[in-house]
């Protein structure tokens, strides 16, 4: 009877959640290193959410699918280049690097194209009709769904067989934690791409256009900024970075090429964008790294099964108490 309830709850209280601070401390550096490597992927994807939000005030729910299409693009490039699943390729280093860059290019192009198509097909007609924002979100959800399902029907619900170009190997140790060659590559490459994107937005004329539209669309239009072109540009930049993220993702987790592989990652990247301050490119960068690290601390503290809960709780808490994130909203004010 209900009499059991206290017992169940009490037992549950001891059982199902416990705080292992010792483990948190023990694995602090391990989690930091892993969190930064994984978080750089969040950062790259988060940029797409942030830019589009900054300019259109729209959560591009389908951005996670932009990402996963990039993953498939990279995967099929591997296949096309003659890599086979199962083993680790033994190609010479130079060849491997060239192939990786090729895959990066294909992934970025695939994602960029999907993002652009999405803008054209799903969002632009609505913008023309001056549809309410909720309609945009529903369209985005529908697009996300449709792309996922199309991939699933084309391939199948199971992940593609893994292909790995570089075998992971510990390179050196920081704070007693070994860093693998893949983690280092991914982290540095992501950082470089983010810096390029940042200086593009801050230094070039087109980038200034994006900032101007984000700050005040009407004035920007009056000042001669072509709003449509700016919108297109934000989708393309977001798409390109998501494509890069996709390659880095399958370098770390080669089993991740699967139709719904973008969903959770997309939500987390969005969380990262909100965490740093949505609409703010540097916020996305910061948010991605922070979320990657927090998530790992959380799972050390509470146990592996709580990892995703940690991410969602971070999302909710931030939206409720500081909806403008750490660095504040608005792309326009992103210049520090």
């Amino acid at each position: 009877m209900i009499g059991n309830l206290p017992t169940v709850l009490a037992q549950g209280g001891v059982d199902w959640i416990s705080f292992d601070i010792g483990r948190l401390v023990d694995q602090f550096w391990y989690n930091t290193v892993n969190g930064l490597a994984y978080g750089s992927i969040y950062s790259l994807v988060a940029v797409g959410y942030t830019l589009v939000y900054g300019v259109l005030k729209l959560i591009n729910f389908a951005h996670s699918e932009v990402f996963i299409v990039g993953a498939f693009g990279a995967y099929f490039t591997f296949q096309f280049l003659g890599y086979e699943s199962g083993g680790i390729a033994q190609a010479p280093l130079v060849e491997t690097i060239v192939n990786l860059i090729l895959a990066l290019a294909v992934a970025m192009i695939c994602s960029g194209l999907v993002a652009l198509t999405l803008e054209r097909v799903a969002y632009r007609p609505l913008r023309r009709k001056k549809a309410p924002r909720l309609v945009f979100l529903i369209t985005a959800v529908g697009a996300s769904f449709a792309i996922q399902q199309a991939i699933m029907l084309w391939r199948n619900p199971n992940p593609e067989l893994a292909i790995q170009l570089i075998a992971p190997r510990p390179l050196f140790e920081v704070f007693g934690v070994s860093v693998t060659n893949i983690q280092l590559t991914v982290f540095l490459a992501a950082l470089v791409l983010l810096l390029i994107a940042d200086s593009f937005i801050n230094r070039t004329r087109l980038g200034r256009g994006i900032r101007a539209v984000a700050q005040d669309p009407d004035t920007a239009t009056l000042m001669g900024v072509n709003k449509e072109r700016v919108i297109m540009l934000t989708f393309i930049i977001g798409g390109l970075l998501a494509g890069a993220a996709a390659l880095f993702y399958i370098m770390q987790i080669p089993q991740g090429v699967v139709y719904n592989g973008g969903f959770l990652l997309g939500i987390k990247a969005f969380t990262a964008a909100v965490l740093g301050g949505i609409g703010n490119l540097r916020g996305a960068l910061l948010g991605g790294f922070l979320l990657g690290v927090f998530e790992n601390y959380g799972q050390s503290l509470l146990g592996g099964q709580w990892r995703d809960v940690v991410a969602f709780v971070v999302l909710i808490v931030i939206l409720m108490f500081r909806p403008t994130g750490i660095l504040g909203e608005s792309l326009g004010k992103a210049r520090v």
């Binding site: 009877m1 209900i2 059991n4 309830l5 017992t7 169940v8 037992q11 549950g12 059982d15 199902w16 959640i17 005030k57 729209l58 959560i59 097909v121 799903a122 007609p125 609505l126 009709k129 549809a131 309410p132 924002r133 909720l134 309609v135 979100l137 529903i138 369209t139 959800v141 529908g142 697009a143 996300s144 769904f145 449709a146 792309i147 996922q148 399902q149 199309a150 029907l153 969903f263 939500i267 969005f270 099964q305 709580w306 995703d308 809960v309 969602f312 709780v313 999302l315 909710i316 939206l319 409720m320 909806p323 403008t324 909203e329």
Partner: protein
């Protein structure tokens, strides 16, 4: 009632749906009942209309397909209160459905530490009560947010409900609860009325629940509560300034939607006899949302039709079943672009007394306004 009542002197073509509505509104109360009652009887007799164009066999058991369709209809009616009436985009609605199912599991499965021989009706009541409370718990903090932010936060809560089911050992995660108790009752030959295999009693039960819910929700819609919801959907700030306690009514919309979702969850769990954490993901939430949007958010008849399309089509046409998520995803895009109000737009009629007053004053029955595109409820961003 003839055409000159709504478009005098113009030759504009009257849309078919409009004509149907005007015809319907022109009927007397008595005539309306004379049509409603046979329709309801027909709905109850559906399990016996198991022949060619309607049947889903041999692919799917027809009675169970009917039950599943009815279940989705019930969910869509509940979600329509939240999305269609109050304009709150809830992407975590499946969470309430899950809570209802889990309450049933916890109370009636022998795998549960809380198991006892509760009367089944009590399970329904507790299920609804618990989901309503969770509606308050989830709604109170989140409903200060608007538009997109609300959608994402509800999605987060929906996922957290699922992950909690995964992580709390008492909720048995992927392993789940087996052999849930079913409603009592035996046929004259001593066999149980409610079994997993026979969809008919479940279908009847659900249809009865749908009718009850329709009446109750209809009561709300035709009252100050329903007006407050629409006002909030249309312009939340203006509603507040006109004296509508918007926050309270938003929470109420959430809670009432939750209650209906919970009821549907209890029925679902009862029929299936098994509950685990697998069917409560975002994909399911979006499918529910598709039912509401497809039919016409804010229009009960539309929403029911939308739910039937979503649930029945894949059972009827096995070819479709594989492609259904793709089709519904594309349908959402196309619909939003070309017909954002859904297959049937929300209709707005005067209140019953308003009609009389209007007729008294103007000397003719009111024309019916139609076509409601989804309204923006997300002008502001943060809390």
């Amino acid at each position: 009632m003839s055409a000159h009542h709504f478009r005098s002197g113009t030759a504009t073509k009257v849309p078919f749906g409009q004509r149907i509505r005007d015809w319907w509104n022109g009927l007397s109360r008595f005539h309306q009942w004379a049509i409603i009652i046979p329709v309801v009887v027909l709905v109850y007799l559906m399990p016996f209309l198991n022949f060619f164009p309607i049947t889903t066999e041999p692919g799917t058991d027809f009675e169970l397909a009917l039950f599943n369709t009815a279940r989705i209809v019930l969910i869509a009616i509940g979600l329509n209160v939240v999305v269609g009436q109050a304009g709150l985009l809830d992407l975590g609605y499946v969470g309430f459905f899950a809570i209802g199912a889990y309450v049933a599991a916890l109370m009636t499965s022998r795998d549960s530490a809380l198991y006892a021989e509760y009367p089944w009706l009590l399970v329904v009541v507790v299920g609804i009560a618990v989901t309503m409370v969770s509606g308050v718990i989830i709604g109170t903090p989140t409903l200060r947010l608007r538009g997109d932010y609300l959608a994402i936060v509800t999605l987060g809560f929906g996922e957290i409900v699922r992950l909690l089911a995964d992580n709390i050992p008492a909720l048995r995660g992927n392993v789940g609860f087996r052999n849930l108790e079913r409603p009592p009752g035996e046929w004259s030959d001593g066999t149980r009325i409610f079994t997993q295999g026979d969809g008919i009693p479940w279908y009847w039960l659900t249809v009865t629940a749908i009718i009850a819910v329709l009446i109750l929700v209809g009561n709300l819609e035709r009252s100050r509560v329903g007006r407050a919801w629409v006002a909030i959907r249309e312009d939340e700030d203006a509603a507040e300034i006109m004296g509508v306690p918007t926050f309270r009514f938003k929470v109420w919309a959430f809670v009432i939607g939750a209650a209906i979702g919970g009821l549907s969850g209890v029925l679902y769990a009862g029929q299936l006899g098994f509950v685990n954490n697998a069917r409560f993901d975002v994909v399911t939430s979006v499918l529910f949302l598709a039912a509401v949007i497809l039919g016409g958010s804010g229009n009960k008849v539309g929403v029911i039709l939308g739910a039937i399309v979503i649930a029945y089509t894949p059972e009827r046409f096995q070819v479709v079943s594989e492609y259904r998520y793709l089709i519904f995803g594309l349908a959402l895009i196309v619909l939003m672009i070309f017909r954002p109000q859904g297959l049937l737009g929300a209709r707005q009629r005067l209140l019953a007394r308003g009609r009389q007053a209007y007729k008294r004053l103007v000397g003719k029955p009111e024309p019916v306004s139609t076509e409601s595109p989804m309204k923006d409820s997300g002008k502001g961003t943060g809390a």
